[in-house]
Subunit: 299 residues, 4 copies
Amino acid sequence: MKKGVMRPGHVQIRVLDMGEAVKHYTELLGMIETDRDDQGRVYLKAWTEVDKFSLVLREADEPGCDFMGFKVVDEDTLVNLEKDLVAYGVEVEQVPAEELKDCGRRVRFTVPSGHAFELYADKKYTGKWGVSSVNPEAWPRGLQGMKAVRFDHCLFYGPELAAVYDIFVNVLGFDLAEQVLDPEGTRIAQFLTVSMKEHDIAFIHHEEKAKFHHASFFLETWEDVLRAADLISMTDTSIDIGPTRHGLTHGKTIYFFDPSGNRNEVFCGGDYFYPDHKPVTWQAEQLGKAIFYHDRILN
Amino acid sequence: MKKGVMRPGHVQIRVLDMGEAVKHYTELLGMIETDRDDQGRVYLKAWTEVDKFSLVLREADEPGCDFMGFKVVDEDTLVNLEKDLVAYGVEVEQVPAEELKDCGRRVRFTVPSGHAFELYADKKYTGKWGVSSVNPEAWPRGLQGMKAVRFDHCLFYGPELAAVYDIFVNVLGFDLAEQVLDPEGTRIAQFLTVSMKEHDIAFIHHEEKAKFHHASFFLETWEDVLRAADLISMTDTSIDIGPTRHGLTHGKTIYFFDPSGNRNEVFCGGDYFYPDHKPVTWQAEQLGKAIFYHDRILN
Amino acid sequence: MKKGVMRPGHVQIRVLDMGEAVKHYTELLGMIETDRDDQGRVYLKAWTEVDKFSLVLREADEPGCDFMGFKVVDEDTLVNLEKDLVAYGVEVEQVPAEELKDCGRRVRFTVPSGHAFELYADKKYTGKWGVSSVNPEAWPRGLQGMKAVRFDHCLFYGPELAAVYDIFVNVLGFDLAEQVLDPEGTRIAQFLTVSMKEHDIAFIHHEEKAKFHHASFFLETWEDVLRAADLISMTDTSIDIGPTRHGLTHGKTIYFFDPSGNRNEVFCGGDYFYPDHKPVTWQAEQLGKAIFYHDRILN
Amino acid sequence: MKKGVMRPGHVQIRVLDMGEAVKHYTELLGMIETDRDDQGRVYLKAWTEVDKFSLVLREADEPGCDFMGFKVVDEDTLVNLEKDLVAYGVEVEQVPAEELKDCGRRVRFTVPSGHAFELYADKKYTGKWGVSSVNPEAWPRGLQGMKAVRFDHCLFYGPELAAVYDIFVNVLGFDLAEQVLDPEGTRIAQFLTVSMKEHDIAFIHHEEKAKFHHASFFLETWEDVLRAADLISMTDTSIDIGPTRHGLTHGKTIYFFDPSGNRNEVFCGGDYFYPDHKPVTWQAEQLGKAIFYHDRILN
């Protein structure tokens, strides 16, 4: 949090059928619907999140990610980061307050990999769902499905990783926690953090721009990962891989798909990060193990 | 335990290189070497087992399973079961006491699927490894690798399942806990038990006789299954599938290979059985889910 | 299961307020109400149990246990065990079929410790709750609270343990799995089993007759034990001790009270038993550790 | 990390017998001895820590904590924080580089509760123990005992909490994550963080100055907490309470004592924190539940 960027605050995802999507993210992932807007967008949050929403679903003709937003500590920080982006040559767009309900103004920009990001300082504080801020119980009763703890990070595919790195690290104050290097030493994957988490955002090299790999949601334990896998089977949801462990970050994970074909991850654990940690390096020759630690091959 | 057959007591497995095999079963699976014999066979046990050994490794030119032995409650039971086998038309072979060190006489027979089994009543009682029988600690310090709890069951492939069923159920007192039926109602897999375990032995239909699918070892928890998967990766051991859950029995599992190519399973959990339970049926159309509950396809 | 006694099949518990009791056993423990009878008794089962009920609640002026019943494999076995009890000098009482709804005739007897037990062979088979017997899912959605897996055992306090032992071991075919011996070698606690479980019933010496210590319900994992403890706190239920581990059986456990003051246990894990296992002995000098393995003192 | 304080970096603890203490912290907690110095002090670290040590043991006539040190991001930050402390009226003491081996200069100060703290920017980077920084395995083989993951925080008792709060929050950039308020609204406990952790340091009101409650070490899972409790029993270590859950932070925990009488905690889980989180408040009337969530009474 060197420059005041605090956390991944929201992601807007395109879905083909809103009813199916809401059912998927509430009944299966266990998120809570908190609002809808005039555009028909649906707002959801995970139970430990203190702000009103972290996931926005928008009905569209094809799946994918519209943008990912990072919350910064305050308006002054937002002003400064905006200046820094512009100074660095990044074109920024103003999204007015309330374009997302109960969210303050957002500063939007697109990075050379083709992905759109936003910074914002304000969102309605609703507190954790189902637990009081006074003498809080350990967890709320009444959670559904996988009982997702929080929206955690996204993984994107695209070109120009070095240019993207410069923006996130040099302008926005992220750190490089983990990387994959090819034999020539070129970084083909970068896991970036502004927190103790091993990644708040990750990019993997791909020739095509603006590809969305997955949005990830945190679970508490490996047993929750098992139950998530069971629920995937019970609900006949399309699974990608898992339960397994990643080599990169060492998180314990499952990949699966929402009804529109967007990949979701739920995971637990994983290493932690401090700014004095040297980056962990994975060699591209070991990419299978880096991605799927147990199988050691890509699926 | 209607007829006095108590449990899977041992399995003799052929390995190509004894040194590598012993390393695999001790350092990786966490079994304890308890003896060797004149033939060069190596005897091992898992720590909770009270008898001297449950796994016998024999060096040979090809991998596989020589035989699996069941312990019966006493010599009278052995005498009776031998008579019942003969009366049923099963040819039995006498293996004298001490052919396996510290093991009493064994009654050996081959079932129509081509697999060899044994019954025996006596084996040297050594008690659990590493814990006292007086004021015992919860577990012994000093276990290695996966810390296998016990040899649990084997799965065999072969023809003539109905004839094999008759011997195990009608002569030896096993119960059918789970089955897979094809659309014509033919049983193409049978999971048989003499205990509260959902299977002490299992057979899947295959045209070729005498095929060995895996020997299985019990672990205590799903977290132990994760650590087992991690160790498989760390030791560059060949993995087959997992961590995952079976549909059949609902056990949580990993399949992997010993250095000779014999498949091992480690697993935890799974359903329990009593003799008044009606068999669980899986439809062959759902065989993918029956075998691998999460992926729902065969690998 | 040497003599055909299969498992603890039911326990009838006295409660002071039926409404509160039903709420406790359904919403907190997660049992399912399956019926009520003319006497106002309420029948419940845990989800993995295949018979109609395992817990019967009877409203009364004081709490306690009316009787515990064991299911035997069939009517012939029941006839034989009844004869054996009578031949041994145990007075038996006939309870007609349907005295408990959908339960066959019961043979009731009181042992010298003052506790009443029953044997029965028939109860309505309803199958597991919430999962099919064809292609069954791993667990049912919609379970409440602690999601109790099964009624597991009871622990009683009373005198004359040796005489009680003789009836259970010599007449009914139980085995002694664990015991506590005082310095003179007198058995002051006995844990008896007819299965792979380390205890199906247990007795601890106490001068007063017919004392009920607890009815115990099985949970799947140590994480479920934590959630159970959390729920105890959230519902302001009276806790006795835990989460902790027992020395005896090594089960992981919590003790707490129903609204009438009956002690409940939920636990997971624990050692397993085969009839050739020598009994585990705890010395009375180590009773604290035997009961509560971590604290090593009695509470 | 608003002002550049990064994490609890070390704690120096007084022990009565160095041999016993080293055995306790290595064989039981699973820390690794990394060095000793001329004064006879012993340096240890937990395996995930990238710096050379986090625990320093000093032999003395009575147990307790000499000081706790926080690592800051760099020397500039150290210079600034030192100025800020002095400007705020806090007396600072210079401890030269190498007074602790391989550690840079430290700025020491005592807060009004009577406890000594240090800031430092440099310590020898040794990387995680037992795993490579290139293609790292998930965890190192060969860890002992509880396999402590990291030194996590300390809890101190003393007076003048408001004055201590001002130094940590206003000068050093900590946030208040959780607090206990008495009926008059006076803060009698404060849990302070500079990270995503729910506490990096905590203070509870006590009339006497400079009391040390415990040093806490992180474990990965609730199952590790169980194994830690088992090891406490196996090694006949003095236990205080647990396994249980705290209300404050919701961490899952055990308290026990080192051979000198210093209280240790090992714990896992617990809530996470971001700077926009409002403090969680526990009412003093609920102090029992705040401290020990399951028992709801103080021990």
